[in-house]
Amino acid sequence: MTALFTIALRAIMRNKLRSSLTILGIVIGVGAVIVMISIGQGAKAFVEKQLESLGTNVLIIIPVSTTHAAARGTTGTITLTAEDTFALVKECNAVSYVSPGIRTTTQVVSGNMNWTTGVSGAGPDYQIIRNWPLKDGRFITQQDVNSMAKVCVLGQTVVTNLFGTLDPVDKWVRVKNIPFRVIGVLSAKGQSPTGQDQDDMVLMPYTTVQRKIMGVTHIGYALASSATAESRFEAIDQITSLLRQRHRLRPNEENDFSVISQVEFASAVMETSHTMSVLLGSIALVSLFVGGIGIMNIMLVSTTERTREIGIRMAVGARERDILFQFLIESTVLSSFGGIVGVIFGIFTSKLVSYYGGWPSLLSSLSIAVSFLFSNIIGIFFGYYPARKASRLNPIEALRYE
C-alpha cells in the first residue's frame, strides 16, 4: 500500500502542470463552498444578533385606519391613546411593560450644529422593553412624563453629529426653538434588520413630544413587552381583546389597531437569508462537482496514456487490485490536496470578502470539514471509473499498446 502511494505521488509529480490544473477545479469548488457557506452563516448570525437587539418579546401596537373609522368622523391615527396603554399594563397579565410612543422628524440644533432626526416620545419603561442600556446620564422618569419636562436622551449618531467627541450630558439642544436639556446618552445599538440606524434618534417624554412639539393628544404607537418570548402570543390576544373592548368595536368590525411581534418580522428576514445561503451553497456544490468531473477526465486520459505502463506492471505481477488502488490513490491524492488548498483559499477569500465587502462571514469548522471530506469523496467517486477501466485492461494488449 505504501508502495502504491509512492507510485501515485510520483505520477502526480511527473506531470506538475496537468496535476495542478486538475487540482484547480477542486480548489475552486471547495473554496467556493466554504466562502458561500461562511457568507450565508455570517448573514444568518448577523440577522440573529439584530433580532436579539430588537428584543424577542417586544410587541408594537400601531393604530390602523379602517373604513369604519372614517365613518365615525375620526382618522385612524388618533384612535390609540396613552390611557389605552395604562389599561394594558393593568389588565393584561401577559404584558409586563408598555411605553406609549409618538414620533416626528424634525431638526435638532446645538450651538452652530444641526441634525435632522427622528424625535420619539417614550415612557420610563422604554429602556426596559428595548433592553437598551445607557452610556451616560439617566433615562426619562415617570416624573419627567408627568411634568412634560423639557429633557431628552440622545442616540449615539445624534451625539456624534451634534457634539462630536464632547460630552453632551447637561448640555442643551433646541427643537422648534424650545431648549431641551440632555439628560442621558444611549449606548450604540447599530442597524436594525431593515437597515435603519437605530442610534439616529432623540428620545423625550412622550407627553413632551405630544404637547410641546406636535400639539396633539393621541399617541402614534405603543411598545409593549410580554413576560417571555413564548408568552407573546398570549399577550397579543389579551391586547387585542382589551383594545377592541376599549375602542367599543362590534364583533363584525375590524380592528382599528394592529399588534406586531418583532420575532415574526425578523424570522421572515431570517428565512430569506437561509434561502440565500442554501442557494449559494448549491451553486458552490455544482462547481465542486464540475471539479470532480475534471479529475475523472484527466484520470481517463492518464490511464489511456499509461496503458503500456499498466501492461508492464501487470506483467511483473500487479493484480487488478493493485492497479485499481494505484489510480484511485492518485485521484484521491489529487482531490484531497485540492481540498486542502481549497480550504485555505476559502478561508482567505471569505475573510477578504467580509473585510472589503463589508459583508459578515462566519467560518464554521463544520463547513470546512464537510467540504474537505466531500472533496475526498469526489476523488474516490470520479476516480473509480478510470481506475477500474485501467485495472480491467488485458495485459497482452496493454503491452502491445503504442
Binding site: R14, I312, R313, V316, G317, R319, E320, P395, L399
Partner: protein, 244 residues
C-alpha cells in the same frame, strides 16, 4: 532433471466474428529445469500466443499447462498475477521499462507487488546490478541509457524475483548485432551459471543458436523440436516428427 513446463494438448482459439481461429492447435511440450529453449516460427505461427500462455498472461482455451507442478491453466486472473510475480520473468523486444523511473526502481518493480520484501531480495538486486554491469547507473533514467543497457536493466528486472522461468520475446529485435551478441551472452551466462530456465522467441537463426534446443512452430503446431547442435543455418524444410 525436473520438468518445469508441461503443456498437454494446448489450444488457443480466438473468435473473430463468426470465424474461429486456432492460434494454438494442440501443442504439447515439456521443458526441463535449466533448459535454454528457442521458439521459432513465421509470423502467425502461434509463437506469441504460446509465449503469452507460458508467461501466464493468457489462459489456454483447452488443454493443460503445468508450471512447476501447478496447473496454472486453471488459475484465476489474480492467481496468475501472483505466479507472474513469483515464478516468471519477462524480457521484451521493446525493453518495456517504465520511463521517467530510475534504473533501480525499474529493477525493483516486481518486488513492490509482494507482501514482503526480504533481505534476500535486496541483496539480489545488488548482485544483479553487478552481474549485468549496471553499477553506477542506478539513478539514471532509461532514456539516458543505450539500447543494450536498457535491455540489461530489463533482464535484471526479469530475474530479480529469482524466477523459475525467464521468457524472452525477441530480446534482440531492437538491437544492433554487436549489442545483440552481448545481450545473448548475458542470457546464456544466466542459464549456464545460475541455472535459470530460459524460453526465447526469435526469428533470427543465429540468435536461436544460443539456445540448446529449438522448437519450430507452424500454424499453431509444433513443427520440429531439435537440439540446436544439429541445427543448420537455414530453417529445415523437411518436416520433422513432432514430440509427443
Amino acid at each position: 532433471m525436473q520438468d518445469i513446463i508441461i503443456l498437454k494438448d494446448v489450444y488457443k482459439i480466438y473468435t473473430m466474428g463468426e470465424v474461429e481461429v486456432a492460434a494454438l492447435n494442440g501443442v504439447s511440450l515439456t521443458i526441463r529445469k535449466g533448459e535454454f529453449v528457442a521458439i521459432m516460427g513465421a509470423s502467425g505461427s502461434g509463437k506469441s500466443t504460446l509465449m503469452n500462455i507460458l508467461g501466464c498472461l493468457d489462459s489456454p482455451t483447452k488443454g493443460k499447462y503445468c508450471l512447476e507442478g501447478l496447473e496454472v491453466s486453471r488459475f484465476s486472473k489474480n492467481e496468475l498475477a501472483e505466479i507472474r510475480n513469483k515464478k516468471l520473468g519477462f524480457v521484451f523486444q521493446s525493453f518495456n521499462l517504465l520511463s521517467r523511473t530510475t534504473v533501480i526502481e525499474n529493477i525493483e518493480l516486481p518486488l513492490i507487488y509482494r507482501k514482503r520484501i526480504s533481505k534476500r531480495d535486496t541483496d539480489n538486486i545488488h548482485q544483479m546490478i553487478r552481474i549485468l554491469g549496471l553499477d553506477g547507473l542506478q539513478k539514471h533514467y532509461p532514456n539516458q541509457l543505450s539500447g543494450g543497457q536498457q535491455q540489461r536493466v530489463a533482464i535484471a528486472r526479469a530475474i530479480v524475483n529469482d524466477p523459475a522461468l525467464l521468457l524472452a520475446d525477441e530480446p534482440t529485435g531492437n538491437l544492433d548485432s554487436a549489442t545483440s551478441k552481448d545481450v545473448m551472452n548475458v542470457l546464456s551466462g544466466l542459464n549456464h551459471n545460475r541455472g535459470i530456465t530460459i524460453v526465447l522467441v526469435t526469428h533470427e537463426t543465429d540468435i536461436a543458436g544460443y539456445a540448446r534446443r529449438v522448437i519450430v512452430l507452424k500454424d499453431g503446431k509444433v513443427l520440429s523440436d531439435t537440439p540446436s547442435q544439429t541445427f543448420t543455418t537455414p530453417l529445415p524444410q523437411t518436416p520433422c516428427e513432432t514430440t509427443p
